[in-house]
Amino acid sequence: MSDETVLTINHLTHKFGGLQALTDINVDLKKGEIAGLIGPNGAGKTTVFNLVSGFYVPTEGDILFKGNRINGLKPHVIASMQIGRTFQNIRLWSDMTVLENICISQQYRLGYNVADAFFNTKRYKSEEKKIHDEAWALLEKFNLADKALDYPRNLPYGVQRRVEIARALSLNPELLMLDEPAAGLSTSDLSELISYIRWIHETFGLTIWMIEHQMQVIMTLCDYIQVVNFGKEIARGTPDEIQNDQNVIKAYLGNGEID
């Protein structure tokens, strides 16, 4: 881990019409760390992710990726700046093969135009070959090569997750945002997911930022955790600090008297 910052969010505030979804969120992701963003349902975690990936333009505040301001840019431009993400509910193109899923996600570095495709030029051939080679290499790395020509809808849920993460990595990202990677997985799959994320982190040397409800996943993986509730940050710190934070316990368990 170095001191280099990958993602900085300053005073991020977002309103949906009259609804104040986020108030003054500040984030500082250091290169190479695994950071967590947690909070009860409806706290605004996914909204933060959607703002970073460009689906909404923030009402106030700045989002900086490696020092460049990215708020207001289109999602595909942000993706081509090498920010990968997955979704809470898997969003693969389920009627296209796994290989096609991976290839299409490399559109950002497609070095040919429509005319090249029509006339089957040298540039077209070499670019397509490069993309397919990269896709195969990636699938092999992920042990998914035998699934390359399958349709995601025919794959088990756990494998679909892995394919989705592999697809996000085909963007060659420096920052990988995982939105509830454990959602829908059984508890026995969790330890597998943990080692899987750890393996990705080590192999690709990237920064991971994740939203998760499974405390087991968050507490074992994350170096640093931020907690939001009702669109406001209520705590930040290491997993140990968070586990003992009174505000966090209150947010998760409620404010009732326990005796």
Partner: protein, 355 residues
């Protein structure tokens, strides 16, 4: 290189069939009536497979294809009249020597297509923000804008329409006596199918399908969805314009009412009959649809009771259309040998690969 030689089988068969048709037409075995049917099939192949790019591959619902056909038909007709036909209804004299029609005819047709591409921006730009039913309304509106405008432009004959394009064809036959419109019709139809095949096979074109399956994840995975929509709409409309140009020259007469919502519906019917997102389905359904319409000609106006009824039955019992989303090689695996198109998708040392 076995694969290399196989690559040429399909184009070779296509070329052979075209040459055969031209020879038969030349020997008058294929009379004018059958030539016209063949020509209509070619035009319908272009119409249905191009609409399939938007409605099938991209999953949008465009019902204004007839409008873009009209733009192509009118632009190429006006060009053809002004350039090659002395005594035409617009300028009264030809700008170029009539013999040049021989070489410039395809250019005129393509210019019609280019004009349609420009007009298709009327649909493509709203499509950045609107989807589904709302975009369908935009496309219908565009169709009306185009036909109503043509109905009110004096120079192209208002609702009476334009005529005289046949003389361009007779000029061409005057140089070399061949069934030129049939030749160009078949060539443009084959090129259309080839171009769509190339586009949809490329990783760039597959971005269009990604928009259909999930637009949000397409954006997140670096696919410029606006660019994809622009490509799909302009490409599809441009081809409709080409079909329009051929149509105008085949009939030698056009008026705005030929390109109304009825024409757009016909194209829609062919796409849904063939199967959304299936290029071979679109081609097949263009054949079936045209021949069916011709066979039902004796039924006269009841034709338009029988055909919609068939549509209802198809939607009931085979809603995915003749081919579904599949292509011919997927239905008949033996044909796969002829289309080594996906060979780059299968790795040579791939173990689990394609069955």
């Amino acid at each position: 290189m076995k694969n290399k030689s196989k690559k040429f089988i399909v184009p070779a068969i296509t070329a052979a069939v075209m040459v055969l048709v031209v020879i038969l037409a030349q020997l008058d075995i294929l009379n004018n009536y059958y030539q016209t049917i063949l020509m209509t099939i070619c035009i319908n192949v272009i119409m249905s497979s191009s609409l399939n790019v938007v409605n099938g591959y991209m999953g949008e619902f465009s019902c204004g294809h007839g409008g873009f056909m009209a733009v192509g038909a009118y632009v190429s007709s006006v060009l053809s009249l002004v350039l090659f036909c002395p005594g035409n209804s617009i300028t009264g004299k030809a700008l170029l020597p009539p013999e040049s029609a021989m070489f410039l005819f395809p250019v005129v047709i393509l210019l019609g297509g280019a004009a349609s591409m420009v007009v298709s921006l009327l649909v493509a730009i709203p499509s950045f923000k609107t989807r589904d039913d709302y975009l369908a309304i935009v496309t219908i509106a565009t169709n009306f804008i185009i036909t109503t405008s043509l109905n009110n432009i004096g120079i192209v004959g208002e609702s009476r329409g334009l005529m005289g394009m046949k003389s361009t064809l007779s000029r061409m036959s005057g140089v070399i006596d061949l069934p030129w419109i049939l030749i160009w019709g078949m060539l443009f139809a084959a090129l259309t199918v080839y171009a769509i095949h190339r586009l949809m096979k490329s990783t760039l074109g597959q971005g269009i399908s990604a928009v259909r399956y999930d637009e949000i994840s397409a954006e997140i995975m670096s696919v410029n969805t606006n660019k994809m929509k622009l490509i799909a709409f302009t490409f599809s409309s441009g081809l409709a314009g080409v079909a329009g140009g051929l149509f105008a020259h085949m009939l030698g007469f056009i008026n705005p009412s030929s390109f109304g919502i009825m024409k757009s519906t016909e194209s829609l019917v062919m796409v849904y009959l063939g199967g959304m997102g299936s290029l071979s389905g679109s081609v097949l359904s263009a054949f079936i649809f045209t021949i069916l319409l011709e066979l039902l000609r004796p039924a006269q106006i009841f034709k338009w009771v029988i055909i919609p009824l068939m549509l209802i039955l198809i939607m009931q019992f085979r809603p995915e259309g003749i081919m579904g989303p599949r292509e011919l090689p997927q239905v008949f695996p033996k044909l796969r040998k002829l289309f080594p198109v996906n060979s780059d998708m299968v790795r040579k040392n791939q173990t689990g690969g394609e069955a």
